[in-house]
Symmetry: C3
Subunit: 309 residues, 3 copies
């Protein structure tokens, strides 16, 4: 019998998401008055980062610490045995003996799924190449629901930037599709919505708008901004054109709905001006904090430990 | 007064080994029903890995966590002060103030012994270049004894692969020589048993067979397989010849004794086919697990903390 | 409201220093009979080392462990998000959500001050380029006071080596200026006392002597030795001249006051001969130990947790 694992944002039912979000909210409330929620005192989390991601790794480790758990960790390309030619499979079979749950970051799409098939402890996909990043999507969803209820009236979510390759966008739109939302995709056509996700949203009967015009942001209640990478464009001049027009600054936010929240998976380059940071609309640092609550919630769920506040 | 340290597989008496194995077995039994054995709650282990070895480091760290202890760790060539030219000696004198026990991996043979002479906390050799790897030998011994009692009737242990340079083989044969065993060494002559160990085994009155013929495996109750590295052969064609003939696969295991256990210190390349993994004979992943119990046992012993289950 | 941070050795009043030293001494006394002082059980320290420094990092981590606290850590140039171009600011805003206090090592002078201005948790400067290293100064001060009371009669402290660029010297002389001391600066003129610090000491009415002659050490009760780096000299022959003459060996210590203590921030190269290590005058390994007590004291103070032994 295999343990449950978190591999894709699409694997969750609405009910499962609501349960996770509800527990996350209870954890957040608990941590307003406590430094810890010591429910995993005897558990070991392995953070296996085959490519570096300081932010995601520290978020998982902080989540485990706040649950009073323990951590073994390995980071970077100098991942020793693999440098010697060892298969991912052999490495993971060893980790199985050393930890109760693991979070894996790997440059190859599907690596976490391979792991989950072969070991008996729960596996959390912490980002697999061009694939998915479901725990980022969960914290994003939690952040959106904190500001816009996602209950009855549809919430208008605009995705801005690299919609074609943006792993976090792909994961988030799958989760959001369980809730009353409308989506606006604002991007150069070169890096627009993949057919696969357009079809997915159509099946889910989600109303979407696709445009190159950043002015479409004015309708949105959520601006989910991602970085546009130069290497995605065959012609560098194309990149330059969009790079400038898609910068979210204080002036632009001023023209949008007052209840707009500006999100970013971080790290940002220049997509969001620093002058936005102090606006109440800016929630990208709150996202990092929410990552703590949602990951704590997920760790408890996967280890079958009930929340007791 | 210096603390006791673990530097070489040869330092243990049969009585000491039996005590360690016995405690390891009690720890294993305890962990069937508990996640932790919180006996080292106030202790700090330093894992000092001057060359990377994810598997060994994580095994030590997991062992310390399961004992409820704490860990400070440093990994890799970018070991900062050393990059600045600092002597190993100065580094270790500082560690002495920060930890209660340390495990050292170093590319230079004898590095752990130098450490043990100069600092007052126990030092565990976690692999020193072409030297030894005594904790690997201890977990190997534990694994063998779990499957074949090592009590009265001699157990036939075959070593396959690189017997000349295989550090884990050298450490294991020294420990095994305390028990009723017979040994078969199966390797190309170029990488056969060093004189030093042939003499050692002769003195210990251990019956040995040396051969290039993999068919000798049919008599064995233990196949301890190691990787053959191309760079050991002056003539690459020689390497190719052996590389193919020494692969342990399902078919070959089928021709051996039913009670054969197949061991490997891992990581493997192609020495053992993946189709062996599912056979009950395959114990190489169990070895990793046994590393946890034996290292826990060793940590307790070196810190003079009695096992209380 | 910002938390208190430790950015510069010069920020402390004499009263604050005496309080920290007093608590450090009580912690040291406590640890003679206990392995731990479990006062920070629910706290998380982030050690953010944007350049490696094994010694300083392990000292902070050991201090946190001895207080029963928890640690998240990131090390090295491969600091992932920063490699992707992320600003220090964004990184720190995320850390704020994950830890209760952080220690930062950064190659750029002033990096810790920037951090402290932007995040709400206490920041400890663990070395910022050519800037300061106040926790090293604190442990140095503690070490001096342990051997020479710093109460009424002035203590003569000699600084030997690179006085111009020696960050640890600059931090220490600022703290020492609060106590009855006289200072001797022994160095080649090329790397002598910066005007800024000469003026500072003059204002503080500290009697100082500046000389190239190592014989001046005979008057000293403290020899604070640092490494002279070849690259500081336009003419390599100048370097060679001083390199040899400034080596502290057993013979030289024999010509000095019997109550001389020899200090070094470590790592050393050849500035202090190994034959000094066994003399009672050598306290450089004791400094590393004192770093533990003083950093524990500082962590408690910044987190407003009173010492209870």
């Amino acid at each position: 019998m295999r343990s449950r694992s978190v591999l894709s944002a699409g694997q969750f039912s609405k009910e499962q998401l609501e349960k996770l979000l509800e527990t996350s909210a209870r954890i957040e409330a608990h941590l307003q008055n406590h430094r810890q929620l010591p429910l995993l005192e005897e558990y070991v989390l392995a953070t296996l980062f085959f490519e570096p991601s300081t932010r995601t790794r520290l978020s998982f480790e902080s989540a485990m610490h706040r649950l009073a758990g323990r951590i073994i960790s390995t980071v970077g390309v100098q991942f020793s045995s693999l440098a010697k030619g060892e298969s991912l499979y052999d490495t993971l079979k060893m980790i199985e003996a050393y930890a109760d749950i693991c979070a894996i970051r790997h440059p190859v799409e599907g690596a976490s799924a391979i792991a989950a098939r072969n070991i008996s402890i729960p596996v959390i996909n912490a980002g697999d190449g061009a694939g998915e990043h479901p725990t980022q999507a969960l914290l994003d969803l939690y952040t959106i629901r904190k500001h816009h209820s996602l209950a009855e009236k549809p919430v208008t979510v605009a995705f801005v930037g690299d919609i074609r390759y943006g792993r976090t966008i792909h994961s988030l739109l799958q989760m959001l599709a369980n809730f009353p939302v409308e989506m606006i995709f604002i991007s150069p056509v070169e890096i627009g919505l993949p057919d696969k996700y357009r079809d997915f949203l159509k099946n889910k009967k989600i109303k979407i708008v696709e445009t190159e015009d950043i002015a479409a942001l004015r309708e949105a209640q959520v601006a989910y901004v991602t970085r546009i990478q130069e290497e995605r464009f065959p012609d560098p001049r194309e990149f330059e054109k969009f790079k400038d027009s898609y910068i979210i600054d204080r002036e632009m936010v001023g023209k949008c709905r007052p209840d707009l929240i500006v999100m970013h998976p971080l790290p940002r380059l220049s997509e969001i001006s620093l002058d936005v940071d102090d606006l109440p609309n800016a929630v990208y640092f709150e996202q990092a904090e929410n990552g703590l609550y949602t990951r704590m919630s997920l760790l408890l769920d996967l280890l079958d430990v009930p929340f007791v506040g």
